[in-house]
Subunit: 326 residues, 3 copies
C-alpha cells in the first residue's frame, strides 16, 4: 500500500487542501460539484449558511495578500464561521515564539482551521503535518509551489464555460517558473484529463523539471495559443525584471502579451482567464481583459464558491472528533 496522502483522512475524505498534486480525479470533481451549490448561494439575497457556525478559522498570512485573504474571509463569514485574523508581523513570533508554539497555542484556543499564505514552498504542508487530528489546513499559496484554491477555481470556471475537460487544449502563458498558480493549474488540468496543456514562456521562465509535468512547451506566443480553447494569462511579477529574467514591459507585451490580434489565433470561442490582479497593457491588452472572451471577473466570483467548498468539505466532515479538554 502506498503512503497515505496527508490531505486525506482515514475515510479518504478531504482533511487538508495543500496541493492539487496527488488528488484523484473524483476528488477534484467533488470539489467542483460542491462549489456549484455555493455559487447559487452567492446569487441569493442572503448569501449565508450555518455550515461552519461555531467553528473558528484562523487566517495566517505571512505574506500580505488583500485579494486572497478577502475571499477566504468572505467564504468563512458566509459559512458562519468565526474568524481570527493574525497579523503575523506583530504577533508573538516577534517575541521569539516559534511557529510550532504559535500553532499549538492557536489550537489550544480552539482554532479548527488554518488558512495559510507563506513565502516558502512547503510551509502549508509543514503546518498540516503538525496540527491536531481535528484541525484542517488550507494552503492559500506557498512560495512557488502551490495555490490549490486558485487552481480549482480556474477548473470550475473552465467547466462552466466548456462543460467538459476532455476535448480541451489549454495554454498557460507567462512566468511558469515562479508561478504557484501555474503548477496548481497544470496538475488539475492533467488530472481532469484535458487533451493538451501548453506552457508558453521565454526559456528563462520555464522550470527545469517541465518535462515531468506532462505539458507541451512553447516559446513563441503564436504557436502556443494556436487553436487553444482556453488561454490562461499569468500575472507578470514586475520584480522579476530586475532579476534579468525578463526584458522591458513593452518588450514583454510585444512577445507574450495577449492582444486582440493574437487572440484570433485561438479557437473562435476561446475563453480568456487571468488570476488577477491584471497588469493592463503588460501581459494582457485592456480590451481583451474587458472583452467578450474574458471570464476574469467570473473567476473571482467562482473563487468564493471554491473556497466555501473546500472549507466546508474539510471542516464539515461528520467524523471529526474534537479534542476533549482535560
Amino acid at each position: 500500500m502506498s503512503r497515505r496522502n496527508i490531505q486525506l483522512d482515514e475515510q479518504n475524505k478531504l482533511r487538508h487542501f495543500i496541493t492539487v498534486e496527488g488528488l484523484k480525479r473524483q476528488m477534484l470533481v467533488d470539489i467542483l460539484d460542491t462549489a456549484e451549490n455555493f455559487l447559487g448561494l452567492g446569487a441569493r439575497k442572503t448569501k449565508k449558511v450555518p455550515l461552519l457556525r461555531g467553528k473558528t478559522v484562523a487566517n495566517l498570512f505571512f505574506e500580505p495578500s488583500t485579494r486572497t485573504r478577502s475571499t477566504f474571509e468572505l467564504a468563512a463569514q458566509r459559512l458562519s464561521a468565526d474568524i481570527l485574523s493574525m497579523d503575523i508581523k506583530t504577533s508573538a513570533t516577534s517575541k521569539g515564539e516559534s511557529l510550532l508554539d504559535m500553532l499549538q497555542n492557536l489550537e489550544a484556543m480552539g482554532v479548527d482551521m488554518f488558512v495559510v499564505r507563506h513565502g516558502s514552498s512547503g510551509a502549508a504542508r509543514f503546518i498540516a503535518e503538525h496540527v491536531a487530528p481535528h484541525v484542517s489546513v488550507i494552503n492559500a499559496g506557498d512560495g512557488c509551489h502551490s495555490h490549490p484554491t486558485q487552481g480549482m477555481l480556474d477548473m470550475f470556471t473552465i467547466r462552466k464555460e466548456k462543460g467538459e475537460f476532455a476535448p480541451l487544449t489549454v495554454a498557460i502563458v507567462g512566468d511558469i517558473l515562479h508561478s504557484r498558480v501555474a503548477r496548481s493549474q497544470i496538475h488539475a488540468l492533467t488530472t481532469l484529463g484535458v487533451t493538451e496543456v501548453r506552457v508558453v514562456a521565454p526559456r528563462t521562465l520555464i522550470p527545469a523539471d517541465v518535462a515531468t509535468l506532462g505539458v507541451h512547451v512553447h516559446h513563441e506566443m503564436e504557436s502556443g495559443i494556436k487553436n487553444a480553447d482556453v488561454i490562461i494569462m499569468l500575472r507578470l511579477q514586475k520584480e522579476r525584471m530586475q532579476g534579468g529574467f525578463l526584458p522591458s514591459e513593452a518588450e514583454y507585451f510585444k512577445r507574450y502579451g495577449l492582444s486582440e490580434a493574437r487572440l484570433k489565433l485561438a479557437k473562435p470561442d476561446v475563453t480568456v482567464m487571468h488570476p488577477g490582479p491584471i497588469n493592463r497593457g503588460v501581459e494582457i491588452a485592456s480590451n481583451v481583459a474587458d472583452g467578450e472572451h474574458s471570464v476574469i471577473l467570473q473567476q473571482v466570483t467562482n473563487g468564493i464558491a471554491i473556497r466555501m467548498a473546500v472549507m466546508s468539505m474539510t471542516l464539515g466532515r461528520p467524523e471529526i472528533e474534537m479534542g476533549e479538554p482535560k
Copy 2:
C-alpha cells in the same frame, strides 16, 4: 424631465447616499423617521436586527478615520451584515491595480455596499457611477465636498431637540471653506426649511460660492450666534494654521471660540453641537462642550441610528435584483 438623480432608483427610492444636495424634503424626513426606529434599538439589551443578514458591506477608507469607520462598522454589525474592511494602503492598489478593477473584483466577490471615505471630492460619486445595478454606495466623506451621514445625524439631533425645523435659526461656526460637514448641513437645513442658516467664519474660510448656498454670512461671532436656536461648532483643522488661513489657536478661540459668556448671546434654550472630535479650548470651551446645552455625545449615538437607516434603506429595497452567476 430633469436628469435622474444618481442616488435614486427607478422607483425614486434611495439607492446610494452620496450627498444631501438634490434630495427632496420628504426623502430626508424618511431617513430621519427610519433612524428613529433604530435609535430605540440602541437602548434595548439586544442591539441587533437581521435586516442585512447575508449582505456584505465593504469599508473602503482611503483616508484614515477611526470614529466614522467605527460607527459604520457598528451600524453594519447591528444590521447583521458581513463586513469586509479594506486597508487601502496595503491592498492590491499598491500592486498597480486601478480603482475600477478593485471595485469590479469586490463586486465579483459579492459585495453589496461600499462605504467610501476618500480625500478627493467626487470620489464616492465616481464609484457610484461605476458599480453594478444591485450595489449601493454610501459616502463617508469625500474631500471638501460632502459628508451626508454626518449632515443627517445633525438634522436628527436638531429634530429631537427642537421638534420642528421651520422656526429655527442655525449658526454654523468655523472653517466653512474646507468643511464637507458644513456643506452637508447647509443643504439639509435649507431643504428641511429652517428660517435662517448663518455661517460664521473669517473671510479666508468662507467659500467663494457662499452666496449660492442661501446662507447669511457673519464674520463676527457675536452677531453670528445672536438669538440662534442651534449653534454648530466645526472642528478646527490645525493643519490649516500653517496655510496662513488662520492666526494662532489662542487668537482663534478669542475671536471664534464658543465660551460660556458668548453662549448667553444665543437663545436661552440654545442647542450646542459639534461633529467631534473636539479641540477643547480651541473652538469650544470645555465647560460648554460638557455643559447643559451640549448634545455632542447624543450626536454620536444618533450617528449610529442614521447610518443604520441609510444602510437599510439602500440595501433593503425589495426590488433589488441580484446579478445572476453565469
Copy 3:
C-alpha cells in the same frame, strides 16, 4: 461600612474585572465554576452561545498583545457579541482627543464593555471609574499591576489538576518585580487558601513590598521548588537584561531555569505552568515545557473559558439598565 469595591455592583455582583485583589473567595469560586461550563462548550462542535448577542465589546489595546487580544476576541465571538477593535495608535487620540473623550464617544456608540490593555498601572481602574453605569471594564493587563484573567485561568488550571487549593504549595519563579501576572496569581492563591505561596527570584527582581503579600521568598531555585505541588514559571522579559536586573540568558537558566533535573526536587506529581509565550532554554527547558508535567497549553484553552466567564458574568447581569436615548 467599608468603601464599596468598584468591581462590584449594588447587589455585590461582578461589574468590572480589574484586579483579583479585594475580591472574596466565593467570587473567585463563582468565576471558576462559570468557566467550567464554558470549557465544555469549547469541546462541542458548535463553540457558540448567544449570551452576549447584541452586546458590543470594544478592545482597547494601548499595548500590542496578539495572544491576549486573540483570546478575548474569540471569547467575545463565542458569546455572540459584536466586537470593535481599536488600533489606538491610529485612532482619534492621535488627533489630540483625550482618553476620556474617546471613552465617552465609544459609550455613545453603544459599547457595553471595554477590554483594556495598557502599559500604565491603574489604567483599567481609571477607565472603570469613568464609564457609564451599564458599561463594564475588563483589565487585560495594566503595567506591572494586574492581569486578573491570567491569574484566574491559572487558578482554574490548578483546580482542574489538583482538585483542592488548601493543601498546595505553589512556587512562582522569575521576575516577580515587574510581573502583573505574578501579582494576580499571588492574590488569587492567597484568597483561595493554599498552604504556601513561594516566590523565587534574584534579589533584584523581588518587589520591596513582598512582605505584605503573604508569600515566602526564595533566592535559590532548589529550595524554592522543593516539594512544590505547582511550579509557575514566569516569562523572562529579555529587555530587563539591559537594565542590569539580570545576568545573561545562559546564566539565568543556570540559576533559575526549570530543567528536568531540578523538576525532580518538586513533588512527583508536580504541575508545571507558564503564562506563555515561553522562551525555550531561557526560563524553561524544552523537554520540561513539552513534558508530562506541563499544562501550558491547557492554560491557553482554560484562558478562553475564564474570559467567557468574566465577560458573561459582568455583562450578563439581569439588573443592567441601559442608558435611554434622549
